[in-house]
């Protein structure tokens, strides 16, 4: 990734131009042509630096309830438990972390009933009894880290 890529990433973390030819608008600001902007974004997709490009919705404004949950899984059961958790489309993020509990995941469900159902199924399928549940109370920040120059 070079400086030009970083400049593009920087632009993509701000306000995406809602205009007919958004990549031309980005290119104009960075002294690049539209095709170069698009091909550099494509390359960053391929390398894995960019995971997604598009809108991020506010789940609460759409009537969904979100929470963070954690399970303390024995090392030899992490893969099996993660496979069960990852099977739910309502679970969008799942991370293995050092410490206890070690599996941390987010659940976004259209209702509390559905959320409880998911937890009940995970308990049943994995045999794990304790799932720590952390409902969000107040959001102070969700924003991507700005790219830093090395």
């Amino acid at each position: 990734m070079d400086d030009k890529d970083r400049e593009i990433l920087q632009m993509l973390q701000g306000r995406f131009p809602l205009e007919s030819e958004p990549y031309r608008v980005i290119g104009d600001k960075l002294w690049m042509d539209e095709v170069s902007v698009i091909s550099r974004i494509a390359r960053m997709y391929e390398s894995g630096a960019i995971r997604y490009l598009g809108p991020f919705f506010d789940s609460r404004k759409l009537g969904y309830k979100g929470c963070l949950a954690a399970i303390d899984a024995p090392a030899d059961r992490v893969d099996a438990i993660a496979a069960v958790i990852n099977g739910y489309s309502e679970i969008t993020h799942n991370y293995l972390r050092e410490g206890s509990p070690n599996i941390w995941f987010t659940v976004i469900a259209p209702s509390e009933e559905r959320r409880e159902q998911i937890f009940a199924e995970i308990r049943q399928k994995t045999g794990v009894k304790d799932i720590l549940i952390f409902a969000s109370k107040k959001l102070f920040k969700v924003r991507l880290i700005l790219t830093r120059r090395q």
């Binding site: 990734m1 990433l9 993509l12 973390q13 701000g14 995406f16 809602l18 007919s20 958004p22 539209e34 698009i38 974004i41 494509a42 997709y45 894995g48 630096a49 960019i50 995971r51 997604y52 490009l53 598009g54 809108p55 991020f56 919705f57 506010d58 789940s59 404004k61 759409l62 929470c67 963070l68 993660a82 958790i85 990852n86 489309s89 309502e90 969008t92 993020h93 799942n94 991370y95 293995l96 972390r97 050092e98 410490g99 070690n102 599996i103 720590l132 952390f134 409902a135 969000s136 109370k137 107040k138 959001l139 102070f140 920040k141 969700v142 991507l144 880290i145 700005l146 790219t147 830093r148």
Partner: protein, 158 residues
Amino acid sequence: MDSKTRQILCELQDGFKLETRPFKRIANKVGCTEEEVIEIISKCRDDGIIRRIGAAIRPEQIGHAANALVAWDVSEENVDEIGTALAELREISHCYERECPPGWNYNLFTMIHARSEEELRNIVAGISERFKFNGFKIFRTEKELKKTSMRYFEEAQP
């Protein structure tokens, strides 16, 4: 939300295709003009239904080698002040106050991103000296097991 808005958001929810006129494609698919699509998306962004339009980046791919969830034990009367201050820090991408299960006192959750283990330690140390905490816990990211974007809209049945 009207059905046209819903249709447009449904088309958008998997992200943009990489092409010169992404909104034109959606307009063709939904059966309205490109201007209308842009206007409706702008309105959703103004209303806050869309909180941001842009890229999601994998932190480890852009030089953030040390990432951690750090949960802080903050007393009720300080949580607003500290949460607001932590949200200002560029190394922090997520900051939430959360309800906690019995026996768990770490109520302020932050995601911290650093380029090295040493930098991570310094950031955490800096924060812990600056504010009044009863304690904190670090959960370093070992491995991403799943990361996707939520699909909120279902395709209309044919």
